[in-house]
Amino acid sequence: MVRYTIQRLVYMIITLLIIATATFFLMKLLPGSPLTNQERLSPEQQQIILDKYGLNDPLPVQYVKYMTGLAQGDLGLSFQYDNRPVTQIIGDRIGPSALLGFQAMVLGAILGILVGIIAAIKHNTWLDYGSTILAVLGISIPSFVFAALLQYYVGVKLEWLPVALWGEYKHTILPTLALTVGVVATIARFMRTEMLEILNSDYILLAKAKGISKVGTVVKHAVRNAMIPIVTILGPMTVAVMTGSLVVERIFAVPGLGEQFVLSINTNDYTVIMGITLFFSVLFIAVIFLVDILYGIIDPRIRLAGGKK
C-alpha cells in the first residue's frame, strides 16, 4: 500500500509540474497584452509596467521566477484588479463555489444512490422505466440550459426563490439544483447497473436461501457492495461540477471562482486565468489521488494489480 501511494504521489507531482509549465508557456502565446485594456499609456509608461511585472525578462528567467513563486504559493498579481494578489482573489472567491460544489455533490450522491437502488429493486416496472428516462434526460440536458430554465420558471415566473445574486442561504438553492442534476443522473445510472449485477449474483441467492428478509439482503449485501465502485466516479463528478460551476455561477451571478474565470478570460487577465487554471487542476488531481488511494484501501484487488507491475 505504501509503495502504491508513493507511486501515485510521484505521478501527481509530475502531472502538476507539466500543467504548470504548459500553462506558463501557453499564456505567453496568448494574443493581446495585459495593457490592451488600459487607458492609453506612453511607451515609457508601458515599459515601466512591463518591468514591474517582469514581462521584459527573458523567458527562462520568467519561468524560473514563476515556478519558484508557485512553490511558495505565490500566483502573481492580477493585471486588472489593482495589483491584487491572485491568491487573494481565489481566496475571496472560493467560498461560494465550495459551498455550491459541496451541496451539489452530497445531494447528488444521496439522491442518485437512492434512485439507483429503487430502479434496480423494481427492475422492469414503471418505477424503473421512469427513473431511467429521467436519468437519461438528466445527463442529456446541458447544465446551462437547465440552470436558465430553473431561473426563468422558479425565479422569474413563480418567484419562489431569488433569481440570482448571493447572500442568504436561499440564494444557494437554485444553483445547487442546477449543478446537481448531472450528478444525480450519472450516479443513479451507475448505481442501477451495479445493483442489477449484484442482485443476480450467487451470494445474493445464498442470502435469500438462508431466509434473510428482502430488506436485509438489499441493505446488508447488495447496497454495500454496489457502492464501492461509486467511489471511482467521484473524480469525473468533481470535474463535472467544476465545469458546470463556470456557467451556473455566471447565470445566477454567484461571486465564485467559475464566474471570476469567465470574467478574466474576457479581460485577458493572464495571471488570474493561470492561477484559477492551476487551482482547478490541483483540486482535480488531488481528488483523483484520494479516490485512487481510497479505492486501494476499500478494494485490495486494485493495489495488488498496481503493485505487481
Binding site: Y11, M12, T15, A22, P142, V145, A148, Y152, L246, I273
Partner: protein, 341 residues
C-alpha cells in the same frame, strides 16, 4: 388388423412419396447463422430507446440538411424592422399550448400590429435574423463538430491504444505513463487555454477537444487488445506466419470494434456539449455564424421578454444529445456479448 391391412392394400403406391434420409428437418435445432453485426442489429431493434434515438437523429439531420433552405432567409440576413418577432407557424397556430401562434408573452399578436406579412417559423432575434435558419445551420455546425471529434478520436485512440497494447513491454510502459499524466489534466482547462490562443472557430474547437479526448478510447482499445492478443486464434495466425499488420488489422481490430463504436457514440454528444458550453461562455463560434450553444447564449440574454429565443435552440441541443445518448446506450446493450440473452 385384417381390415386395416386390406385398407392399406387398397391405396395405390403412387400416392406415396419416398422420403430420403438426411432430409429430416424436424430434428434440426438451428437458427439462421448470423454474423456479429446482424446479431447486434436484431438486438438493437428491440431496444425502444435506441429506436427513438435513431428516429430523432434522423429527423434532426433532415432539418439540419434541408432546414436552412426551406425558406428565403439566410442565416446572416438582418432586418431590423422584423426584429424580435415571436415564432409563427400557420398550421400550428391553432394549438394553444404550442408557442407558434405569433403572439408575445402578453398574448398580443405582434405580426398583426407590426404588419409583417412573412411568417418566421421560429421567430427572429434582436437583429431580425430568422431563427429557423439560424437554428438549423447551428445544428449543422454542432453535428459537424460532434462527428469530426468522434472520427479523430476514433483514429488516434485506436492507433495509440493498439500500438501500446500490441507491442507491450517498454513501449507500452512509456505510452501508458504519458496517458496517465494527460488524464490528470482537466479537459476543459486545456480546451479553454487552447481556444484562447488560437482563433475561436470550428477548427480550433475540434482540435482542442481532440487533444485530450482520445485518452479514454486509447485505454479501452489497449485493454481489449491485451485481452485478445494472447488468445488461440491470434497464436494460430502468428504460427502460420502472419505479419504484424495482418494480425492487427485482420484479427485484433475487428474484435475490438464493439467497445470502440460504443465509445465513439458517447464522444459525439460530449463534443456537442463541449462546443455548446464554450459558445455559451463566449469562446465558441464567432458571429454572424451561430452554433446551438451561441444561440442559447444569445437567447438567454433576453429570456425574460422573449423566452422563445432560448427555448428553441435549447430543445434542439437537448434532443441531439439525448438521441445520441439513447443510441449509444442501445448499442452498448446490443454489442456487449454478455448482454446476449
Amino acid at each position: 388388423m385384417e381390415t386395416n391391412k386390406s385398407k392399406i392394400d387398397q391405396l395405390s403406391p403412387d400416392l406415396f412419396q419416398q422420403r430420403k434420409a438426411g432430409e429430416d428437418e424436424a430434428e434440426k435445432i438451428e437458427r439462421p447463422s448470423l454474423n456479429f453485426w446482424q446479431d447486434a442489429w436484431i438486438r438493437l431493434r428491440k431496444s425502444k430507446g435506441a429506436i427513438v434515438g435513431i428516429i430523432i437523429t434522423a429527423i434532426i439531420m433532415f432539418f439540419a440538411i434541408f432546414g436552412p433552405s426551406m425558406n428565403d432567409h439566410k442565416f446572416s440576413d438582418q432586418n431590423i424592422r422584423h426584429a424580435k418577432l415571436p415564432p409563427k407557424i400557420e398550421a400550428l397556430s391553432g394549438i394553444s399550448w404550442l408557442p407558434f401562434d405569433g403572439k408575445d408573452a402578453d398574448g398580443f399578436d405582434v405580426y398583426e400590429s407590426r404588419q409583417v406579412e412573412v411568417n418566421y417559423w421560429f421567430g427572429t432575434d434582436d437583429l431580425g435574423r430568422d431563427l429557423w435558419t439560424r437554428t438549423w445551420s447551428g445544428t449543422r455546425i454542432s453535428l459537424y463538430i460532434g462527428i469530426l471529434a468522434a472520427i479523430i478520436d476514433f483514429i488516434i485512440g485506436i492507433s495509440y491504444g493498439g500500438i501500446s497494447a500490441y507491442y507491450g513491454g517498454r513501449v507500452d510502459d512509456v505510452m501508458q505513463r504519458i496517458i496517465e499524466i494527460l488524464v490528470g489534466i482537466p479537459n476543459l482547462i486545456v480546451v479553454i487555454l487552447f481556444i484562447l490562443i488560437f482563433e475561436p472557430g470550428i477548427f480550433s474547437i475540434t482540435m482542442a477537444m481532440v487533444i485530450t479526448g482520445w485518452t479514454g478510447m486509447a485505454r479501452i482499445v489497449r485493454g481489449q487488445v491485451l485481452q485478445l492478443k494472447n488468445q488461440e486464434f491470434v497464436l494460430a495466425s502468428r504460427t502460420l506466419g502472419a505479419s504484424s499488420n495482418r494480425l492487427i488489422f485482420k484479427h485484433l481490430l475487428p474484435n475490438v470494434m464493439g467497445p470502440v463504436i460504443i465509445t465513439t457514440m458517447f464522444t459525439v454528444p460530449a463534443a456537442i456539449y463541449t462546443e455548446a458550453f464554450l459558445s455559451f461562455i463566449g469562446l465558441g463560434i464567432a458571429p454572424p455564424r451561430a452554433s446551438l450553444g451561441s444561440l442559447v447564449n444569445d437567447g438567454y440574454r433576453s429570456i425574460q421578454s422573449f423566452p422563445y429565443m432560448m427555448f428553441v435552440p435549447s430543445v434542439v441541443i437537448s434532443l441531439i444529445i439525448l438521441s445520441f445518448n439513447l443510441m449509444a446506450d442501445g448499442l452498448r446493450d446490443a454489442l456487449d456479448p454478455k448482454m446476449r440473452k
